[in-house]
Subunit: 304 residues, 2 copies
């Protein structure tokens, strides 16, 4: 069995001095033209459109993984962008998972699944074991403990982890997540569930293999959630394209500069801006380095 | 463009005099041995295990669809059981969708996705258009309107629908869904959102293409949710293996005996009980007929 997810993550964060997670959101229409052309040639004239798309995504992912591996601790492939292209797309997802692991990166499968009983068991088998095995996956808490327990069991067996959606960064998140329940927003009750779910998977690093997804859109909220879930890794999206800055996420780190992961997807993947650019690779590598450095500063700020 | 989902559904319910949805939850270990053996032979000696599993699932789904097509209005493939087997499993999912449509059944993709922005757009493209195009899909509301709007847009374009999780039937559903918000359980606030989301897709039948998933575990609750969402089709799981009876769901129907769909998965799929049974097909056909008849009685009861 692999070491617990939380300790593998802590080791990666400390050895790389990085809290950066690069989200893989491969949208065909945004990929470099050179990659798309090469994929068309490789797939051949008779290939189905989604086969060509999957081939382009494979090539792009391989390059991105190579470029960000020195700076990032993990990649977070968003499965929707692969599912979009059916079975060839799902094969490309498995390819991204394997390529990232081979490059020494952890993989957080952004699947946001939420279902119960044997269905949840099937999802856990699909995404924490076998050919698509991520190190951790994201989960939706709306169905309660029944939807999380099968993942916790599988995670305990294979040394995996989960990140539960607590407070997301989108504007309409408030419609449910901020509704007042006994004087506190709903998402704080979810934070308590996350604490309970994580109590049995606390690692040597002090953190649990049950983390939380919390948006970076309100720093005060982030600070409160950091306090409410003292043993949960916080996975913070919303930096870059969604408008938050590295300084906005300082509150997600603990006093030792640990405990937070910050995701950027489009801001790094599409740093080249112009799909026709000859050198689309350097901007990706540089954007990852730059954000890693900014997050280092943010973590130091939290520690000071 | 196809007619609106809600009107296609109403026509099917009325012409078949049925409210039955058969859930496709194909678990390899539960399939008839004869199907598994035939799949092993067809796949050949060198086939990968998940290729063999997917082949068995294809064969089983084809038979189930043929057997229940006269009694059911729709099938509801649960994508987790396909995703479990990777790209070959997802190809089997597409096969089930195509086979059901060819047999004149509507398809409700039980995907329970919930994500935002371009991610939600990718999911909507994946599941309401193209090779895996269901007539409707299930959605998780935790992220609010942002996660539903892209599906509504795609659904409007292609004549599709959605069913939003409001109150699920599992024991821990209460952990979030029943939390008190301004004097009412959270799920009633979600019911109001469902009304709002469905207001622009009301069909000639009076119902909207935005429906709701509500568990059959508490009849009084079902009655209240029927009243709170007067224009939403209610998709009711939990009958059969999960313990509820046809009589328990009478409250989900309107006075005209319309407005509810009742799902049974294991109670029909595995009606043969013994995987070694020679005749595993007759029990499936009979179980579907019997539940359809019981639901007819329940609908009449609601109308009386």
């Amino acid at each position: 069995m692999a070491a617990p997810f939380t300790d593998r993550l802590a080791a990666a964060v400390q050895s790389k001095r990085s809290a950066l997670v690069v989200g893989l959101d491969p949208r065909l229409e945004s990929l470099p033209l050179a990659v798309r052309r090469a994929a068309e040639e490789a797939a051949g004239a008779g290939a189905a459109p989604r086969q060509v798309a999957a081939e382009a995504i494979r090539r792009f992912d391989e390059a991105v993984i190579r470029l960000v591996a020195p700076s990032a601790v993990a990649v977070k492939p968003q499965i929707a962008f692969y599912e979009r292209y059916g079975p060839p797309g799902l094969a490309a997802y498995e390819h991204a998972v394997a390529a990232a692991r081979a490059a020494g990166l952890l993989v957080i499968g952004d699947i946001k699944r939420g279902d119960i009983g044997t269905t949840a068991e099937a999802y856990a088998e699909a995404h924490l074991t076998g050919d698509a095995a991520a190190d951790a996956v994201t989960l939706n808490p709306y169905l309660g403990s029944d939807s999380v327990a099968p993942f916790l069991q599988t995670a305990a067996r294979v040394g995996g982890g989960v990140f539960v959606l607590v407070r997301t960064s989108n504007p309409s998140a408030r419609e449910l997540q901020d509704l007042p329940v006994r004087g506190r927003p709903l998402h704080e009750h979810v934070a308590e569930l996350v604490n309970a779910w994580g109590s049995e998977s606390r690692g040597a690093c002090g953190y649990s293999s049950v983390g939380a997804v919390v948006g970076a859109t309100a720093p005060a909220e982030l600070e409160r959630l950091r306090r409410l879930m003292p043993h949960a890794w916080l996975l913070v999206p919303g930096v870059g394209a969604q408008g938050a800055t590295a300084a906005d996420v300082a509150a997600a780190f603990d006093r030792g500069g640990l405990g937070a992961l910050v995701n950027s997807s489009r801001g790094i993947l599409y740093a080249f801006r112009d799909p026709a650019a000859d050198d689309w690779q350097t901007p990706i590598r540089d954007a990852a380095r730059q954000l890693r450095d900014q997050l280092r500063d943010a973590a130091l700020q939290a520690a000071s």
